[in-house]
Subunit: 356 residues, 2 copies
């Protein structure tokens, strides 16, 4: 944690601030280790405070020994602390804080009986960038989440038979992952059979898996807060020519993107590599989402790898590569792996098997 707080302090200096308020659950956990559902970090160049309510004070003291824990009472804590430590230029997470909270804070500053001069500055993007490069502790947790996910997929794969429901498969997968040590699912498991596989974010329902239908499974374990994200597409029964053809295009798009990704590349350029392969094969209109996204404490985080992304890929970033082709009525095929940028190119972390 010390190193992370140090990085935050460097950000404070670079941005000419004197402090930052961290309010988003993932960033709160990242910088302090605190997992409660409510609270704020206030970090200055020399102090680290954690403010939370009655329910979490003792938990916070246990989980965040590097922070001074205070119980939040009343609304005036920002001007109070600003006065106590003489803070004027405070960074805040504009992508986490609601308009309502922001307005309440501004009002407490205005109404404060003593004269305090506080300006709030947006820092979400800078903090997200900081989190997009993973440290060794994070890599270990991510790899564990991914290994659990891979293993669960290998266990379910030979058990999938016509007559099972999408929901049943999703629940079996969840039980396997939980028994393997997952603390929760990183997101609701997607199991899409036949026409449902053409809906990229279909919710597993009572649809019965049938012979000759594509089956998309998108799943991820959460382990100590870190999220895995894996998609595999199967053909239930014997794959026909159409399935084989489209599968091969999607796989080629994924393989090329993995191979050509380099540090310094812009997200949209990597997206383009996969998108052009799919377009040249005649399916450009049927790949409507981004090629990938960063993954860590959130299942979707920085960097974005989509047609409009300006994010720059860096050493140590962990992200998905997940091209797909979705044909209404027939179904869809998506293949998703998690990779890490290391030593100048990508290493694939996901090890779940694909079609031969």
């Amino acid at each position: 944690m010390s190193r992370r707080i140090q990085q935050l302090r460097e950000l404070i200096s670079t941005k000419n601030l004197d402090s930052v308020i961290i309010s988003g659950p993932s960033n709160r956990r990242f910088f302090s280790g605190f997992t409660g559902s409510a609270g704020y970090l206030l970090v200055t160049l020399s102090k680290s405070l954690l403010l939370t309510d009655f329910r979490y004070v003792n938990q916070a003291k246990k989980q965040s020994p590097e922070f001074e824990v205070r119980q939040l009472v009343g609304n005036n804590w920002i001007p109070n602390i600003a006065e106590e430590y003489d803070l004027c230029e405070i960074g805040f997470e504009d992508q986490e804080m609601t308009v309502s909270t922001y307005n309440t804070i501004q009002k407490t500053i205005c109404d404060y009986p003593k004269n305090v001069s506080i300006a709030l500055h947006e820092i979400s993007k800078s903090v997200d960038q900081l989190r997009s490069v993973k440290d060794p502790d994070e890599m270990e947790l991510l790899k564990r989440a991914i290994a659990i996910t891979d293993q669960a997929y290998e266990e379910i794969k030979p058990r999938i038979k016509p007559g099972m429901t999408e929901k049943g498969i999703a629940w079996d997968l969840e039980m396997i992952m939980r028994n393997l040590g997952a603390e929760a699912m990183a997101f609701d498991i997607i199991v899409g059979s036949g026409p449902n596989s053409a809906l990229p974010h279909h919710r597993a329902d009572d649809t019965i898996v049938q012979d000759g239908h594509p089956l998309v499974i998108d799943m991820g374990a959460r382990y100590e807060g870190y999220c895995a994200d894996l998609t595999r597409t199967l053909m239930v029964g014997e794959p026909d020519d159409r399935f084989q053809t489209i599968y091969e295009i999607v796989l080629r798009a994924q393989t090329e993107a993995k191979k050509q990704a380099r540090p310094g590349m812009i997200g949209s350029d990597l997206d383009k590599i996969a998108r052009e392969i799919i377009s040249e094969a005649g399916y450009g209109d049927f790949f409507g989402h981004s090629l990938g996204h960063g993954v860590g404490l959130n299942v979707h985080e920085s960097p974005n790898i989509g047609p409009n992304s300006k994010d720059i890929l860096k050493e140590g970033m962990v992200f998905t590569i997940e091209p797909g082709i979705y044909l209404p009525v027939w179904g869809g095929i998506r293949i998703e792996d998690i990779v890490v940028m290391e030593n100048g190119s990508t290493s694939v972390i996901s090890q779940a098997s694909k079609l031969d």
Copy 2:
């Protein structure tokens, strides 16, 4: 859904608006039935639009037949639609929208090539109030979620033995609820044994349940989006005098609050009824949270029933009553039921057994 959209239109009229944007996941689902993770509703006095991205367009068409579904492309959709339908006064959810999204919208309005005059107005509180009174369809789903939760508690209760871990009990409960039809947990199950039971929001861990320790279980099934919320406290082994005494105080505080709650009462007054009983018994410093909260599509929603709440209790509101006493080291006792305000007083929906 028609009746709900009608209520939203009445709100538009009352507030002198011409439209509202709904961006929060629960409100989006409440007014449209759409369960995707991204999208906006834009409702005017005569039009109902649902805007979402590529991943969800087909799902939205299926789930929200009363809405015209459009695919979101680019950032300019608000000024575009404002121009199309001549909208100037637009309500938005200030408790859901982030500062970043709000600023982006304001910028697209400013930069729009044509002259549009749009003012954004905060409406979160009004929409929350509207949702705090439940309609018959909601009551049915809530009762189902609560019944699953009650039944799971009755199944686990006789199986709890010294030597089990908190985590093990939580996972057993989750499996029972899922097998009974819960789509998910409404929140991470709290199982707190011994000193952990004194942390109101303790996360179930590897702590081993021991004879002579209090055990707090706080759990809730989610069914078709609706959340249950139930807390029971047991003594593992034979309850001793201290446990009996404190349990009786907490139960009396809960019973009196249930009995005296009336439509028209202010949240803080109901909180006070329970708090005074606990204070008079000498434990006022050990009940640090609110007495209760509304429950529905969110596990915490309007009304708030705490010491500072100005929310007015109304017929048809559904909320928890959950006093607690938490003694560091020894442990805590909390008892929580869900009630509905009907025919001028509360009816208790939760049926899970308590100590005799």
